[in-house]
């Protein structure tokens, strides 16, 4: 076992997949010689050559158009979009092409691409380096979306994403690259090296997509979270007396609905938390499903704790960020409800 932070775990997943399969390539803006602005591809060009890990022009739609073509040929490209805020220029290639190709050709063609991109705020990135666009993609049939919350999962899930024959979006919460950020920006960050989930096998292992993980079992209320918010939820719950069950969704499409439903049927209460803007965020879908499947078990309205419906404001990111305080208030409300 090695100690890895999330970047190292991602790098290790790429390294292993590139060494196992010559058809795995990785590319993106500043990804080659430099190794990526977050260093996720550091050393890979040196190790595998510039044809397997290379820089691309600054054209997100070109990057994904090229990746799809490579996937059609038979390669397994892993593209990096430097920040998820810059995935929008590539929206058409993702939605109209990657997501539809297998369907429209009735299985004759498909594009097994993986798109890695850092999401989320809390790093003083301002409104164009902080967004969490997963909700938008969850509405697009044909795309899978994965959001890991720790190095161990990141590696195992990324390996599964690369091996997956469908297009997979792999969103990396950049705030937890270095440690499990709990939402207190004024406290020192525990590095992953001091956290059990920073223990990552150096070898190959895969974590199947579509399996949520109960990170804290509990009986009183179910908290549905993914990415950074898993740690916020753990911190918030630890600061209360509430016996909450925290579920880390890990992938939102496919969604592990059975684990969610079983939990809420047990607890009778549910709070959803995500960093993305509130309206039509993935929390809405979770609530729609939970109330449908668990209606008769629910003791209180399901609450959403989310980013506000504004861009992510640079100076006020801690007013924006849905931290432990807001989650605790929601938990309190939900517990007090009739």
């Amino acid at each position: 076992m090695a100690r890895m932070n999330m970047i190292q775990a991602i790098n290790s997943a790429l390294d292993i997949m590139m060494s196992r399969d010559p058809d795995v390539l990785t590319f993106g803006e500043d990804v080659g010689y430099f190794g990526g602005v977050f260093r996720a591809t550091a050393g890979l060009q040196q190790k595998y050559g510039k044809q397997r890990c290379f820089d691309t022009p600054i054209s997100e739609s070109g990057i994904l158009g090229m990746a799809i073509g490579m996937g059609v040929y038979g390669l397994r490209p892993v593209a990096e979009i430097q920040f998820a805020d810059y995935i929008y220029p590539a929206f058409d290639q993702l939605v109209s092409e990657a997501a539809r190709l297998r369907y429209r050709s009735a299985g004759e063609f498909h594009a097994p691409i993986t798109v890695r991109s850092p999401v989320g705020g809390g790093i003083y990135g301002g409104q164009t380096h902080s967004q969490s666009p997963e909700g938008v993609f969850s509405h697009v049939c044909g795309l899978k979306t994965v959001i890991p919350s720790n190095p161990y999962d990141a590696k195992g899930l990324l390996i599964s994403a690369i091996e997956d024959d469908d297009p997979v979006l792999f969103f990396e919460p950049k705030r937890i690259y270095n440690g499990p950020f709990e939402g207190y920006h004024d406290r020192p960050l525990t590095p992953w090296s001091k956290h059990p989930l920073g223990e990552v096998p150096e070898d190959y292992y895969a974590i199947p997509l579509g399996q949520a993980k109960i990170v804290r079992p509990g009986a009183a209320v179910t908290v549905l979270a993914y990415g950074t918010m898993v740690h916020v939820a753990e911190a918030a719950v630890a600061e209360t007396e509430i016996d909450a069950e925290i579920i880390d969704l890990r992938s939102i499409i496919p969604l592990d609905i059975d684990t969610i439903v079983a939990s809420v049927k047990k607890t009778g209460r549910c709070v959803v938390i995500h960093e993305a803007t509130r309206t039509s965020g993935f929390g809405a879908e979770l609530i729609a499903e939970v109330q449908e499947y668990c209606f008769y078990h629910l003791e209180a309205p399901i609450e959403r704790v989310t980013g506000w419906d504004t861009p992510y404001p640079h100076a006020f990111e801690w007013e924006y960020f849905p931290g432990p305080k807001r989650l605790k208030e929601a938990l309190q409300r939900v517990m007090e409800a009739a």
């Binding site: 691309t56 158009g65 090229m66 073509g69 490579m70 996937g71 040929y73 969604l255 059975d258």
Partner: protein
């Protein structure tokens, strides 16, 4: 402070609208045979005039002249004529079936048959084609069964796209013919990616892609050219300039200020402009570009100058926006007629054989149609909706399984 003129907004206008005389006076016809054929390894900076001329082989008397004459044998030319005529017969027949309500939609390529057929010949059968919806002639040239295409058009149980796609949006992996997208231009950068993958693998297959001149305005056009240039991808990028998008004439896409082939210059890519109704010229130019790609000399952009004789699609009526007489006054003629005249001039063809061939092809199309219709037409016997939930993902996820159950399958 400068002298301040009142600015004004320029909106391009076509030379003629319905009711007006067709006017092609702006179009400069370059003499056949007058453009030299450079070696395929000529650096792009020596080719910067090519986008502004027009490569032609067949002269006004339909004789093959000049360096670009590919010197194809008569057998191949007769085959080309057959495939062009078959395409046209197929189009005519499918238009009829649409009018009869047997399908919802159809798109002809009338006037553009030389582009597809000659280009298919100039490429190898294992080269990958990323076409738009108007290259059915390439499938004809690759001798893909018309019955199969018809079944797609009818969305019947033999439809390879399982009833999911709009008619004519074929997907024929077995013919190295990529699934056609309803979204314009998306396949252009994909073809570049495919070509890069082929190069990465040390393969020898190249890619080729097609869009219309209207589609050059899409973002993906620029993406494709940028990536093709940076990575010197072995790809042939084609623009079929049939002078119209739907109702918009080519100036709305930028054809007033420059040529579409000229877009290549800025990327350091050779841009060739060819008479798209000249089978021999289209073949020669495509062959040149393909050879360049195969020899690791990089991509080429080809503008095929032609004219869209028919409506944009069965949903369109061109009499609303263009002069009805335009098609017949287009100075570069009809590609089938021109190849026919050429072959006759060479003593390799005659009116009798031509009439016989026409009859044979019409009969073939009719027979194929019978067979295709026997499997059903749109609405009468569609393939089963049970498969409707398949292929969204490789495996059916739980939420789709539940939706399928809800839908009763």
């Amino acid at each position: 402070m400068t002298d301040k003129t009142k600015l004004k907004l320029h909106i391009p206008e076509p030379p003629a609208r319905p009711g007006e005389e067709p006017d092609f006076s702006e179009f400069i016809i370059v003499d056949a045979g007058s453009v030299p054929r450079p070696a395929v390894d000529t650096p792009d900076d020596q080719l910067r005039d090519y986008p502004f001329t027009l490569i032609r082989v067949l002269d006004d008397a339909q004789r093959a002249v000049g360096e670009w004459d590919p010197q194809l044998d008569p057998e191949t030319l007769r085959r080309g004529l057959r495939h062009m005529m078959l395409t046209r017969a197929f189009d005519a027949r499918m238009l009829k079936t649409q009018r009869q309500g047997k399908t919802s939609f159809y798109m002809q390529c009338t006037g553009e048959e030389a582009c597809g057929v000659a280009q298919a010949y100039a490429l190898d059968d294992d080269d990958m084609l990323f076409t738009s919806y108007r290259q059915q002639s390439m499938l004809v040239a690759r001798e893909w069964p018309l019955v199969d295409l018809m079944c797609q058009i009818f969305n019947n149980p033999k439809d390879r796209t399982k009833g999911r796609q709009l008619p004519v949006l074929y997907s024929v992996a077995d013919a190295n013919f990529f699934s056609i997208s309803g979204n314009l231009c998306t396949q252009y950068p994909q073809a570049v990616g495919w070509a890069m993958a082929s190069a990465y693998k040390g393969d020898s297959r190249i890619a080729a892609a097609w869009i219309g001149e209207g589609t050059t305005a899409e973002s993906d056009f620029h993406n494709a050219l940028t990536f093709a240039s940076v990575y010197q991808a072995p790809v042939v990028l084609n623009i079929t300039n049939n002078q119209y998008a739907i109702s918009s004439f080519q100036a709305i896409a930028g054809g007033e200020q420059s040529t579409f082939a000229a877009r290549a210059i800025g990327y350091g890519i050779p841009g060739l402009r060819v008479d798209g109704n000249d089978f021999l010229a289209v073949y020669a130019v495509t062959r040149w570009a393909a050879e360049r790609a195969r020899r690791n000399l990089g991509p080429t952009l080809i503008e095929l100058y032609t004219y869209r004789v028919a409506a944009h699609s069965t949903s369109d009526d061109p009499s609303a926006y263009r002069s009805a007489a335009e098609a017949t006054s287009w100075p570069l003629g009809d590609p089938i007629e021109r190849l026919k005249q050429h072959l006759m001039g060479c003593g390799e063809w005659d009116e009798q054989r031509h009439a016989a061939l026409q009859e044979e092809l019409d009969a073939q199309v009719l027979a194929d149609l019978k067979e295709a219709e026997s499997h059903g037409t749109l609405g009468t016997a569609p393939c089963s909706p049970a498969s409707m939930f398949d292929d969204v993902f490789k495996e059916l996820p739980i939420h789709l399984r539940r939706q399928r159950q809800q839908a009763g399958y």
